[in-house]
Structure formats: C-alpha cells, structure tokens
C-alpha cells in the first residue's frame, strides 16, 4: 500500500469515529428530548386530573340547579381534555410508555372507573337536588295543613284533645323544621296517631280529614328522610372509592414521572459515559493507528538507514529487508540493486586498493630514499662548507708569510723572484676570495635567517652609498620601492651584486643605471637596467652559473659568484631571475619576489653546523 493511501485510510477511520460520536450525541439528545416531552404531557395530565376532581367536588356541592348545570359542564369539558391528552400520549408514545412500565390499560380502567363513579355521584346529587325541591313543596303543603289544623283546633277548643293537638302541633313543627332528622319525623307521626287514638270525642269530619292529610304528609316526610339518608350513605361510599381511585391514579402518575426522570438522568449519565468512552476510544484508536502507520513508514526507513550505515562501513553484503509495496519498498528495491552494483564495483576497487597499497609502499621507499638523499646532500653541502672554511686559515697563513717574505727579504730577490712572490700573494688572495665566495654561496639556504620588514627605498640608498659610485655614474630609482618581509642580507646581496656588476662592466663615459619595480599579481617585479656593453643571448644562462665570468681570469673584475648568489637568493624566495640585453646598448636584469612567499630550502635547525671550525 502506498504511504499516501495509508495516511488517507488512517484519516478516514478517525473521521468516521468522530462522525459516530456526533450521531450518537444527536440520538441521545433526541431520547432526552422525548423523555422531557413525555414528562411534560404526564404533568399536564396530572394537572387536568386535579382540575377535573376540583370541578367534580364543586359540582357535588352545588346548592341549586343553576350551579349544578354550570359545574357539570365545566367538569365534562376538563374530562374531555384529559381523555384527549391521554389518548394522544397513549398513541404517540405507546412503546416508550410500555418500556417505562406505564400500564396504559390499568390507567384506562382506572380513568373509566373514575368517570363512572363520578357519573354515579352526579346522578345521586341530581336526585338529592330533586328531593330537596320535593321537601320544599311538602313544607308549603304542611303550612297549608297546619293552617287547616289550627282552624280545626280552634273548633276543638276546650275539649280533652286540645293538649294532644298542641303536642302534635309542636312535634310537627319540630319535625318540619328538622325534616332531615328522621326521629323528629317519627315522633311527629306518633303524636298524630296519639291525637287520633286519645280523642275522647269523635272529631268532626273536617278535622279527621285534615288529620289524615296531616298524617300522609308526615309519612311522606319520613320516607324522604330515609331516602335522603340512603343517598348520603351511598354518596359517602362513592366518595371513598373516588378518593382511593384518585390516589391510585396520582401514585401511578408520580411513579411514571419519577421513572422518566430517573431514566432521563441515567440516559444523560449513560450518554456522557458513552461519549467519553467513544471519544477515549477514538483517541486511542487514532494513537494506535497513527503509531502503526508511523511505524509502518519509519521501520523500513530505519532498516534502510541501518543498511546504508553498514554499507558505509564497508559491509557490502547487507541488503534491505523491506516487504512493503509503497515508495519505501520501491526505494529499498533500488537500494538493494545499487548495493549489488556497489559490491561488484568494490571487488575491482579492492584490486585497485592492492595496487594502491603497493604504490604507497613504493612511495614510502621513495620517501626514505629522498630522506637519505637529503641527508647525503646536506652532508655534501656541509663537507663543501667545512672544507672551504678550513682552507681559509692555512691560506691566510700562506698569504701573510708571502707578504712578509716579499717585504722582509726584498733586497734578497732579483726581479724574477719579486715577480714570482707577487704572483704568489695575488693568487693566494684570489683563492681566499673564491673560498669566501663559496662559503657565502653555500650559506644561502643553509642557515636560519631573520625575517623583518625591509624598506627597500632606504636599503638601496645605503647600498649605493656603500658602493660610492664615481661622478659619471648615475643611479636612478625610477619607482617607489616596496617594503617586503625578507632577510636584510639577502636583499643586500641581490642589489649589491646587480648594481656593482652594472658599474663594474660599464663601458660608456656616462653610466646610467635605473632601478624599477612594478607590482604584479602576488609578487613584485624588480628591474636593474644599465647602458653597458650588453650580453649576447647565448650567454644568458651561463652568467648565472658559479665561477662563470665573461672576462679573463686575471681581469680582476670578478670571480663569477655574484649572479649565482643573486639567483640562489631569488629562488629561495620562490622568485625568478632573467636577463634581457641588446649588445652594445645595455642590459636589464629582472627578478621577482613573492609578496607572501615563505623562503624555501632554508634550514631552521643548526645541528649541521656544529662541526664548523672557525
């Protein structure tokens, strides 16, 4: 799988987990919302029930028919609302309510029973109201009767009946006033019959007729009272039932509300817990997934790096073990191919290395030989130096003795003898000069030298004044001269020799010598030009060799060491010297000095000079 694909799949999994969390939270939210709706409805139902009960009580206690009719209508309206709401709740959330343990059937039954009891109660009340109306009618009747009885009693005045009639009248009065009390009604009836039985005289027809009517009323009253009692007892019973039922309904409702509340809380808690678990899970899964992907990417890379290191350390036999099909796998395949090529190549490199080692051995031998040669060369130089040096003392002795002989015994010599002793003195002096020159020449590059800033303008002036040229000689410094870092003696040797040569070989009455200097890239180019006899081109090389001069041996113009010394000094500083000349017109010597060049071939140790005898 490609690395990109791996990453995309990883991101998709994480994204789907996040999506799941979102969907879950939406569902949980919906559940909680439904629960709260149910709670609202059930509470509404509860309110309606309470309202209906209050209205029912008001209905039952209504005093008159108008009140009764109004209260009944209110009660029925509330009941209808209650029924409708319950029906709606039942329809919409049947399953939910069942899950909650809300027994709709029981609730319906209870509600129906409540309705029935209520209706019964209402019917009783209606009847009771009707009885009340009846008793009112009886009272008006009784008033009429009493009036009649009173008028009859007037007629019975002075008779034995009077007292009983009075009692009857009193009792009836009492019974009517308290018609609801059965005792009074019965007492009243008793007193009427007593009046009838105890009459000593036969009452008149009118009176007996009234008494009978009176008795009938009393009997009716008694009946009404009994009936009223029954109704009251029944009402009482119905109220008890109703109370119980209401309690049951309310308990049921409260249970449901509590259940829903608990369930909602649990649901919320569960939702939080689940969300936490899902988020933690998603987090964990993304970490594991990320690590896995990272590992699946980094492991082959690490493997590759390890192998690369092994190869870098020279183990060409190792290969990358990467089985993935992504870019890293492709890289590993290419890498393995490269390692194979490299292994093949190293075999030939090994051969090359062998050859190289042989070459190095040869080179080491060569270095040893060079070292030996250097030592031998130095010894030879030392030998030359020491020999020349040691020759000086005896030669000086010879010269001194010859001088003494020529002066002390001058009168003993004839002309020939004088000539010979003078030649001896001259030749020994010349030999001394040659030895001194050899020493000076071989000293260049042998000794340690000082390195200091030399102002050539000043130094050349000093050299010119040392040479002390004659009046016909004009030495010109054409350019401003630099201040190189050199050994003063070396620079003196260069300019002294070049200038003195120019003067020494001058052949014209007006001698012109010009010193110039131009700056070039990294070095100075000096020139010393004269208007002397010039040098033929074929001698250009020869003049720089030691003891080579273009004049005869005894010309006394020179022994042929000056230019050799100049060349050696210039070369020690890494410079070059050459000559340009037109015979008959003049010669120009050029030489260069490196601006930052360290002198080479100069020994910095003195160990080779210890044997020198002064």
């Amino acid at each position: 799988m490609k690395v990109g694909k791996k990453l995309i799949i990883g991101f998709m999994i994480i994204a789907s987990l996040v999506g799941f969390v979102g969907i879950f939270s939406v569902i949980s939210h919906n559940n909680i919302q439904t629960n709260s709706k149910i709670i609202t409805k059930v509470l509404e139902l509860d309110i309606l029930l309470d309202e209906s009960l209050v209205e029912l009580l008001a209905l039952i206690h209504s005093e008159n028919v108008e009140d009764y009719i109004r209260e009944k209508s209110d009660y029925e309206q509330t009941r209808a609302k209650f029924d409708a709401l319950f029906k709606q709740l039942n329809n919409e959330y049947t399953k939910k309510l069942q899950d909650l343990g809300f027994n709709t059937e029981t609730f319906c039954k209870n509600a129906d029973e409540l309705a029935k009891i209520s209706n019964r109660l209402i019917a009783h009340h209606k009847r009771s109201l009707a009885k009340n109306r009846a008793s009112e009618e009886k009272e008006s009747l009784e008033k009429e009767l009493r009036h009649n009885i009173l008028s009859a009693l007037v007629a019975l005045q002075d008779s034995a009946l009077t007292r009983d009639v009075e009692l009857m009248r009193y009792k009836s009065k009492e019974a009517i006033y308290q018609y609801k009390d059965q005792k009074h009604g019965v007492e009243w009836l008793d007193s009427i019959s007593k009046v009838k039985d105890n009459s000593l005289i036969v009452p008149s027809q009118d009176i007996s007729k009234d008494l009978n009517a009176y008795e009938r009323v009393a009997q009716d009253l008694c009946k009404i009272i009994v009936e009223q009692k029954t109704i009251e007892t029944q009402e009482h019973l119905v109220f008890g039932e109703l109370k119980e039922l209401i309690n049951r309904l309310e308990e049921n409702q409260a249970g449901i509300v509590n259940k829903i509340k608990t369930e909602s809380q649990t649901l919320a808690r569960n939702t939080h817990l689940t969300m936490f678990v899902v988020i933690a899970g998603a987090f964990l899964v993304s970490i594991i997934l990320g690590l896995t992907i990272a590992h699946s990417i980094s492991k082959p890379v690490a493997n590759l790096a390890q192998t690369t290191q092994a190869i870098a350390q020279g183990d060409f036999s190792v290969r990358v073990d990467v089985a993935t099909t992504d870019e890293i796998g492709e890289l590993a395949t290419s890498f393995n191919k490269m390692a194979e090529d490299l292994q093949r190549t190293t075999t030939s490199i090994d051969n090359l290395n062998d050859a190289n080692q042989q070459l190095q051995a040869i080179q080491r031998e060569l270095e040893v030989t060079v070292e030996k040669l250097t030592v031998a060369n130095r010894e030879l130089a030392d030998f030359v130096y020491i020999t020349a040096h040691d020759l000086k003392a005896p030669l000086r002795g010879i010269g001194t003795l010859a001088e003494w002989i020529s002066t002390d015994y001058a009168d003993k010599f004839d002309e020939e003898g004088k000539k010979q002793i003078n030649l001896l003195i001259q030749r020994s002096q010349r030999m001394y000069e040659q030895i001194t020159s050899i020493l000076r020449y071989s000293e260049i590059g042998r000794n340690t030298y000082k390195r200091e800033k030399i102002d050539l303008n000043k130094l050349v002036e000093e050299i010119i004044s040392d040479i002390a040229p004659l009046e016909n000689i004009q030495i010109t410094i054409a350019d401003k001269l630099p201040t190189p870092v050199c050994d003063k003696i070396h620079l003196t040797q260069i300019f002294y020799n070049l200038l003195s040569n120019a003067i020494k070989y001058a052949d014209k009455p007006d001698v012109q010598v010009t010193i110039g200097c131009v700056e070039d890239d990294g070095f100075w180019k000096f020139s010393v030009a004269d208007n002397g006899p010039g040098i033929e081109e074929k001698y250009f090389d020869k003049i720089f060799k030691i003891f080579q001069t273009l004049s005869a041996k005894d010309d006394h113009k020179g022994i042929g060491i000056g230019l050799a010394i100049v060349r050696k000094v210039v070369e020690v500083y890494g410079g070059k010297i050459w000559v340009e000349s037109t015979p008959g017109q003049g010669t120009t010597f050029f030489f260069t000095l490196g601006k930052h060049k360290e002198p080479t071939g100069i020994e910095t140790e003195k160990e080779h000079e210890t044997n020198i005898i002064c």
């Binding site: 003392a393 000086r396 010269g399 002096q429 001394y432 000069e433 000079e609 002064c614």
Partner: protein, 139 residues
C-alpha cells in the same frame, strides 16, 4: 702597564699579532696563550697582573673562546676586562652570539687575508678603544 692577552692556537696568527703590536708601537706587553684553558690559568693566577685587553680567537682546541667567555662573565674581576673577538669566521651566528656578551665583548674582527689588511684592522680597533695615539699608529 697592564699586558694585552692574546688567545689563539694558530702560530702564524701569533706571529702576525706580535708583529702588528710591534709595528703599531703599542707599549703594552703581549701575553700569548694557545687555548681557553691556558688563558684561564693565566687569568686566575694571582701573581700575574690582570690584562687590560683580551684578543680572543673563537675556535680553539680544549676550550673554545665561547666557553672561556662563559666563565669570564661569572667572575666579578675578569668580566671587567674588555674582549675583542678575532676570528676567521664571519658567520652571523657568531656575530649574534657576540652581541649577547656585550660587555665584556667590545669588538668583533674577522681575520683578513694579507698582513697589511690585518695591521689596518687592528690599528682601527685599538684607536677606537683609545689604546694608541694616532701619531703612533702611522708607523
């Protein structure tokens, strides 16, 4: 008058310097010793008068001029005597080293080829040190 001490192992040089001193008319006695040890023996001998000048060769058997100088500079009396180096060498190392012994070194002479040059050199050196008067030097 204090003597002049000449230290050199070369016979001809000894002859030369004797002749030079005589020809320059230097009145001081010339004492010659052929190496450093002999010179030191002379210098440390209490009965001998200390020289007023030492003419010293550098390269000598047994004890060289430098070795002698090393000893002289540790001696409170001897290091007061002026020394003129008289050598065959004109090597820079020697000249550089001579600068380290200043004092007592007051001159550094390279033996020239030829007697006349030698005379001139010594005369100039002694004049410089006020040893001889100019009128003496002419002869």
């Amino acid at each position: 008058m204090r003597p002049i001490l000449f230290v050199d192992d070369d016979d001809i040089d000894v002859m030369t310097i004797k002749r030079v001193i005589r020809s320059l008319g230097v009145p001081n006695q010339l004492v010659c010793r052929s190496d450093g040890e002999e010179a030191l023996e002379y210098l440390r001998n209490g009965s001998d008068e200390k020289p007023c000048l030492i003419l010293l060769d550098l390269n000598m058997p047994r004890m060289s001029g430098w070795e002698l100088l090393e000893i002289i500079i540790t001696d409170d009396v001897l290091r007061e005597i002026p020394v003129v180096i008289l050598t065959t060498s004109n090597k820079r190392d020697d000249i550089d080293q001579a600068n380290k012994f200043d004092p007592p070194i007051v001159g550094f002479l390279t033996k020239p080829p030829g007697y006349q040059k030698f005379v001139e050199m010594i005369r100039r050196q002694l004049e410089e040190l006020n040893f001889i008067q100019l009128e003496n030097a002419t002869k």
